[in-house]
């Protein structure tokens, strides 16, 4: 899961990067509204964690601009302004959830998972398809009831494919889910992860569409 965090406090944003990383997310961090706009224009994110009081304006303006151009990225407001009135204003401006500072890291991770899975049209915390069940909260995968141990990257690739089973994801799409901007993308890494996944969950579960990308193999075929 790829998350954009707009937060100007260096200690907190470092904490979010490492902390949400522990829960299997890939984070990109920007510290101003302007950088937030640029990041959202350049990349797709599964969720946006947004501070309200930013040095160059209010996060609400960023949110309003985002919604105005039809961007449906789930947004969680993370701010010290957590009066009821502030929460209402934030949610009415198009936010999906609201969390006041200071917060619990696990709760933040859970809320981010919740808003992004609703975005995918799923209410169930687990994603199941063709015998594969993925639990994002516990970072566990079972195939036909058997637990499978996956690395963080392998889990991220499988989670991306399971989000909308049947949809084809290109190699670039999967790389974007795996790596933040600062991270070096190793060549062939997606192929390597897909290969390892096939070994662990079964050869036929993931289908390669040559020159296009990967998808979960449809059940009927």
């Amino acid at each position: 899961m790829r998350i954009l965090v707009v937060e100007d406090d260096p200690v907190l944003s470092d904490g979010l990067k490492v902390g949400l990383g522990l829960y299997g997310a890939t984070l990109d961090i920007v510290a101003s509204c302007a950088d937030g706009h640029a990041a959202l224009a350049a990349d797709d994110f599964d969720a946006l964690v947004l501070d309200l009081m930013l040095p160059d304006g209010s996060g609400l303006e960023l949110l309003a601009a985002l919604r105005a151009r039809g961007d449906r990225t789930p947004v969680l407001l993370l701010t010290a302004l957590d009066d009821v009135a502030d929460r209402i204003r934030g949610l009415d401006a198009g936010a999906d959830d609201y969390l006041g500072k200071p917060f619990d890291l696990e709760e933040l991770a859970a809320r981010v998972r919740a808003i992004s899975r609703r975005q995918e049209g799923r209410a169930s915390p687990q994603a199941s398809y063709n015998g594969v069940t993925l639990n994002p909260a516990r970072l566990t995968v079972t195939v036909n009831g058997t637990d499978i141990g996956l690395s963080r990257r392998e889990f991220a690739v499988l989670a991306a494919l399971m989000n909308r089973p049947g949809t084809v994801l290109s190699k670039g799409d999967l790389e974007a889910k795996l790596y933040g901007w600062q991270e070096e993308v190793e060549s062939n890494t997606v192929e390597v992860h897909v290969h390892k996944l096939r070994v662990k969950i079964g050869r036929t579960k993931i289908e390669t569409l040559r020159g296009i990308g990967y998808r979960m193999r449809p059940v009927a075929s």
């Binding site: 907190l12 904490g15 522990l22 501070d51 040095p55 010290a80």
Partner: protein
């Protein structure tokens, strides 16, 4: 008297009463004069009439003495006049019934007053030396006073009846006239403590409008002050809760981390966060202290160079690495200021310069003294402040585009407040000779 209505009522009633009293006095005096002149004319005419009929031989009719003792009834208008006819040699020739035996007047012809048997008489005497008689016609002054009293009574009686009516009318008019005030008072008393919406002036009379105008202006000012305070509180909450959130997150990472490097990094981040929060709290306390500072602070003669040196010596480790030069003239320059506040201002300006300093760079303290003013400069080699932000950076929690990682957005605003309290001014401008900021402490000598 605290009630406007009561006061107006008393004033109106007293004024009306006074006017009535004056009118009554006027009527009294006028009536008395009129009655006197009419009755005098009557006396005169009666005396002449009797004189033309009388002779010294008399008309007889001297009543017996028994009749004279009975005082005539005042209201008996038939007996208002008494007449005596005397011969010129002093003999009572005749008298009317009811007239006293005693001679009504000893004077010669004309009017005179006389007291007989405890009653004052007004008498007119007419003489006819040819006939040898003197006719005296008199009436009782008491009777005249009675006429006047009757007339005044006639005037006063209806007035006395209308007094309560008038009082009621005044009271009712006052009630009606002062209603807008009562309406205003009720509206104000119904308000919530935080309701700062303007009061409607629509149906209010012109006299109350200025009051409402001033009131609304006051509401505006109070609301502005409240909004400002709320904004400051919200900022302070944000500025404190954000580093706390950072600390909590890093602590959770340190607990959850399975590998040593992650844990160590998290713990180091916690240290950085604690340092930053400590500084922020110190700055907030400084602001609170400046806000509650009394108008007049104890001031002493202080060497500016001494203050700067003291600040430089006490700098925290990372800021101490930046080279500093202090103009030697500063050491000999004394200003009258509050030591604590001047230290606060100098420390925050110096820290601000140090925080924005690239490596390598230096902070230079210098000064310029002119007649009437003293300017102390601190120059840095940092990025300066964008021109459109210069007016904003002294606002609390304002952090411009060129912010430092450790900044709280309070330093320059503390320096500004502390200098104002010390009778100086903070002027910020970008250096003209190179990139960097020149902060100027300006004293105007009166």
């Amino acid at each position: 008297m605290s009630s406007l209505k009561g006061r107006l009522f008393l004033i109106l009633v007293a004024a009306t009463g006074l006017i009535w009293l004056a009118a009554t006095c006027w009527i009294y005096v006028g009536t008395t004069r009129e009655v006197e002149s009419v009755l005098d004319a009557r006396l005169q005419e009666a005396a002449r009439m009797v004189l033309s009929l009388a002779s010294a031989k008399g008309v007889g009719n001297i009543p017996k003495d028994g009749d004279t003792g009975e005082a005539p009834e005042l209201l008996n208008y038939e007996r208002q006049l008494s007449c005596q006819i005397w011969s010129l040699d002093g003999r009572l020739v005749a008298r009317s019934s009811g007239a006293p035996n005693e001679r009504l007047s000893d004077n010669g012809a004309g009017f005179s007053d006389r007291r007989i048997n405890g009653e004052t008489w007004r008498v007119f005497t007419a003489e006819d030396t040819g006939k040898g008689v003197r006719v005296l016609v008199g009436d009782r002054v008491g009777l005249r006073d009675h006429f006047v009293a009757e007339i005044i009574k006639g005037v006063l009686a209806p007035l006395a009846l209308t007094v309560p009516l008038l009082g009621f009318l005044i009271w009712a008019s006052l009630n009606r006239g002062l209603r807008p005030l009562r309406v205003l008072a009720e509206e104000l008393s119904r308000r919530n403590a935080d309701d700062m919406s303007p009061v409607e002036t629509g149906r209010m009379p012109d006299e109350i409008r200025p009051v409402i105008g001033s009131l609304n202006a006051l509401f505006n000012r109070v609301e502005d002050a409240l909004r400002h305070e709320r904004a400051i509180t919200a900022f302070a909450a944000h500025e404190l809760r954000t580093p706390l959130a950072g600390l909590r997150t890093q602590a959770q990472i340190a607990m959850a981390a399975r590998d040593e490097p992650t844990r160590t990094t998290a713990l180091r981040q916690i240290l950085v966060g604690v340092d930053r929060t400590t500084r922020l709290v110190r700055q907030l306390l400084a602001i609170a202290k400046l806000d509650s500072a009394p108008e007049a602070l104890p001031a002493h003669q202080i060497s500016i160079g001494g203050v700067i040196q003291e600040v430089v010596d006490a700098l925290p480790a990372p800021d101490r690495a930046v080279p500093v030069t202090i103009d030697s003239a500063l050491t000999d320059t004394m200003v009258t200021a509050n030591r604590e506040f001047l230290l606060l201002a100098v420390r925050n300006l110096h820290e601000n310069a140090a925080r924005h300093m690239p490596q390598p760079g230096a902070i230079r303290w210098s000064m310029q003294q002119e007649s009437g003013s003293l300017a102390v400069y601190v120059d840095d080699d940092g990025p300066g402040i964008p021109e459109d932000e210069i007016a904003l950076v002294t606002k609390r929690f304002y952090r411009g585009r060129n912010k430092s990682a450790l900044g709280s957005g309070l330093g320059l605003s503390i320096a500004d407040l502390a200098l104002r309290a010390s009778g100086a001014r903070l002027v910020l401008r970008n250096r003209s000779d190179a990139t960097g900021l020149r902060a100027e402490i300006l004293w105007k000598m009166a």
